[in-house]
Symmetry: C2
Subunit: 114 residues, 2 copies
Amino acid sequence: MTDHLSTTLSALADPTRRGILARLSLGEATVSELAEPYDMSMAAVSKHLKVLEKAGLISRGKEAQWRPCRLEAAPMAEVADWVENYRRFWDESLDRLGDYLAELQKGDPGGSRN
Amino acid sequence: MTDHLSTTLSALADPTRRGILARLSLGEATVSELAEPYDMSMAAVSKHLKVLEKAGLISRGKEAQWRPCRLEAAPMAEVADWVENYRRFWDESLDRLGDYLAELQKGDPGGSRN
DNA sequence: CAAGTTGATAACTTATTGGTTGAATACTCC
DNA sequence: GGAGTATTCAACCAATAAGTTATCAACTTG
């Protein structure tokens, strides 16, 4: 799981972390502010932040005893980019084409299998 | 991790599984065909397929002793949708706005914090 | 029916994840 | 410098994930 995209996706695959990002989309926040909505220890939130940081999805400053977090959405561009390759597969009109191609394939079994 | 989006994202957070989806974007394939490029047992691939199926990213048929897989990209729409909310944060021109807003926030500390 | 092929399942191992609690660190303010 | 606040770190635990091998089930074909 060393590749960048996998790291990003797995960081995003947690509702707490996505919630944190949503909060950060409204502006910088400290760890305690980010932890407040969640029923878990600060340490747990701190770990989530480390995951997000490792994925490059947030950055952190140092302001006195606070370590304010800010959103760094750049890695999400990679996700958006990747998923866009599949848009045609869920786009309604092109589903028709998909069905058509599948039908073609059925008519020529093995032709695409070897 | 019971929510749909988390399930989808974590299914996608694995290069083998994304590779399988890429292959399926070219058309249906059997399990052995999907396993072929990978240096792992069929059982392992079978497990990956189960993860993808549980996330609704593939569906499977029954054709004699084969269980052909086909791409079902619908859940990706949710991912695309979600990530689009953040586009403005990585879009270059709007990064300027982001910096500007951050600057505003600095000038009014606490104003957005409470 | 026996043999070969395709695939899934079970049991097991190892590593990772997500959480906990209890210090430790770093800073501010009186 | 001591008290309080903010955050991290370390050690631990339970659950999950990703892989293995061995076995089983379903189907085709000689």
